[in-house]
């Protein structure tokens, strides 16, 4: 019975997504159904986290076929925590969409696509089969294609062409990698794969396949040489969709890198993990350069996504428990705070009608609440002590020092400074100074726009202040990542 709880977070958005198609024109009903379903999903995800904490890794064999022959869903603590975070983020984004996305987009299946996106994301987190991971990637990407182009403005059409092309190529590479992996090992189940790779002691061919998979996931996660598509694609759609993408899509790539290189290809870290480490460091550097170079609010926040992805992916090369805990903590924090920042940026765009920093100023007089919320989000992003960004970075620094990667610690600390500079630049030029809006312009009502970001900020503050309540869960997740045999034994039950 308990094993069914693994599949429920996946089933709810799937069924709801289908149901919503039938109510195309009844927007009110669509809103009610999607909010109710997202609250239920969040509740089930929270329950799943509790269950995994008390009972260990949960598995669900689809159709009662024993692994490695059937498809299996595996909820370990890492996946469950991410499912919970993703459902909270989506709930807040959908609440924000009510007042900002516009009736035209809502009528064209916006809420259905969000639910299907969630199906893909949850499936990618929970699956225990590498081809199934590919299928859930495609579910997620197809919904994201639709979401990135919904509304059909010129910029959206232009950027989505590039986004789709990049993802078609990366999907083809994924299938190639799966084909090679199948030819070498003869299995697709991750736990079984892990055992067979360990038995063969990961010869050169498997290391090559591992690096091919790394390229695929790096394309999804926007790591250093493969990040080129992200700034353009993420500046086209409306803020709420960028918030959703920034919080969920790249993080699925990050999750897959963690899964692959802690469970499957961990036998020759001196080669694979070293390359990942260099790539991650360069990602932080290019992200930081982009974040300080632009004077466009969206671009600055988008380059901050890239920095955070680099920071988290470096965590996979840290060999200590503190390093893994830091990476997981930072991943959860980053999903929440990036969504909050994009939603707040969406509110600012609603007032000023522009993303150019030079054209705004003095908003603090009329919108003090928005201003101080943005300030809290900014310092949380940079990692100032009482807030959630601090603990993740603190654990990462601790892990970096323990495993003697001093370059990483240096880069991380300097990058925090640059992140703070880039985000405070938005705050100062947008909220302080002389009001640049002409006096004739009316005060824009922010009714209903601010509270989704307030929820996310509250979660972020809780992650910071209530760290003692969260750490046991993160610690369990790190334990499972450190020791692949926990995962293998709960899947294969030998």
């Amino acid at each position: 019975m308990t094993s069914n709880f693994v599949i429920i977070p996946l089933l709810i958005p799937f069924v709801v997504g289908v149901v919503l198609i039938f109510f195309k024109d009844n927007i009110k009903l669509q809103r009610i159904i999607s909010v109710l379903s997202l609250i239920t999903t969040t509740a089930f995800a929270a329950y799943l986290v509790q269950l995994v904490q008390s009972k260990g890794v949960l598995t669900h064999e689809l159709g009662n076929w024993k692994p490695p022959f059937g498809i299996i869903l595996v909820a370990d603590m890492f996946a469950s925590l991410l499912v919970l975070t993703a459902s909270i983020v989506t709930l807040c984004c959908v609440l924000f969409a009510f007042h900002t996305i516009g009736e035209r987009r809502e009528r064209f299946y916006f809420y259905s696509f969000v639910q299907f996106l969630l199906v893909g994301v949850f499936g990618a987190f929970l699956t225990g089969d590498i081809f199934n991971l590919f299928v859930f990637f495609e579910v997620m990407l197809m919904s994201s294609y639709a979401l990135i182009v919904i509304g059909g403005t010129k910029a959206q059409l232009r950027e989505s062409l590039k986004y789709i092309l990049v993802n078609v190529i990366s999907s083809a590479l994924f299938v190639i990698a799966v084909a090679y992996l199948y030819a070498v090992t003869g299995t697709l189940n991750m736990a079984d794969l892990s055992q067979r790779i360990a038995e063969a002691n990961q010869p050169g061919i498997l290391t090559t396949i591992g690096m091919l998979l790394f390229i695929v996931f790096a394309l999804k996660a926007a790591l250093f040489p493969m990040y080129f598509w992200l700034p353009g694609s993420y500046s086209a759609p409306p803020p709420v969709i960028i918030g959703l993408f920034g919080a969920l899509l790249t993080k699925v790539g990050v999750y897959s890198i963690f899964r692959t290189f802690t469970l499957l290809f961990y036998h020759h870290p001196e080669f694979t993990h070293q390359i990942i480490g260099y790539v991650a460091l360069l990602t932080i550097v290019v992200g930081a350069v982009g974040a300080i170079a632009y004077s466009d609010m969206n671009k600055i926040l988008i380059y901050n996504i890239i920095i955070a992805v680099g920071v988290i992916v470096y965590g996979v090369t840290l060999t200590t428990k503190a390093g893994f805990e830091g990476a997981i903590y930072y991943l959860i924090h980053d999903m929440i705070i990036k969504a909050a920042l994009f939603l707040l940026a969406g509110s600012i765009i609603r007032i000023t009608g522009t993303t150019k920093l030079k054209k705004m100023g003095g908003l603090i007089k009329d919108y003090p609440l928005l201003g101080w919320m943005f300030f809290i989000a900014t310092i949380s992003l940079a990692g100032i002590p009482p807030l959630s960004g601090f603990i993740g970075k603190f654990l990462l620094v601790q892990g970096g020092l323990e495993s003697e990667s001093y370059t990483f610690v240096g880069v991380l600390l300097v990058s925090s400074l640059l992140v703070l500079y880039s985000a405070i630049k938005i705050f100062m030029s947008c909220f302080w100074g002389e009001p640049t809006l002409s006096s004739g312009q009316e005060k824009v009502s922010l009714k209903g726009v601010l509270y989704p970001s307030a929820i996310l900020l509250a979660v972020s503050v809780f992650l910071g202040l209530g760290a003692e309540a969260v750490i046991p869960y993160v610690s369990t997740a790190a334990q499972t990542l450190m020791d692949p045999s926990i995962y293998i034994q709960s899947v294969l039950k030998e």
Binding site: E138, Y145, I164, I169, V175, A179, Y182
Partner: protein, 109 residues
């Protein structure tokens, strides 16, 4: 046989990469079509091309070909079919709205 098929798949990949690096959007989409053909052929090849009956139990043969890669290909085919049709419609819309299919002219500001 596997070597021959690998070479064919390699030629398909070469042609796909060449087409995808060109300026015209339609050529790029043809390139993605060739890329997915190459990928599907590669799955089939990587599953092994030993002789054997078709995977139907009614055949009562002593050995069968591997059914798993065929199922994987079937899944990958429908997925790439869905993506390609979306991509084609998107290209059509983009041509109507933006008035060009030249990727060099499809730049952001």
């Amino acid at each position: 046989m596997e070597i021959l098929m690998s070479i064919v798949a390699g030629i398909l990949f070469t042609a796909a990469v060449y087409l995808m690096l060109s300026r015209s959007l339609l050529r790029i989409i043809i390139g993605t079509g060739l890329l997915s053909h190459g990928v599907h052929l590669l799955i089939l090849t990587m599953g092994g091309l030993k002789g054997g009956s078709v995977p139907l139990l009614g055949e009562k043969a002593s050995s069968y070909t591997d059914p798993l890669p065929q199922a994987l290909i079937l899944t990958a085919i429908v997925i790439s079919f869905g993506v390609t049709s979306f991509f084609l419609v998107l290209a059509y819309r983009a041509y109507q709205e933006l008035g060009t299919d030249d990727m060099d002219k499809l730049r952001g500001k």
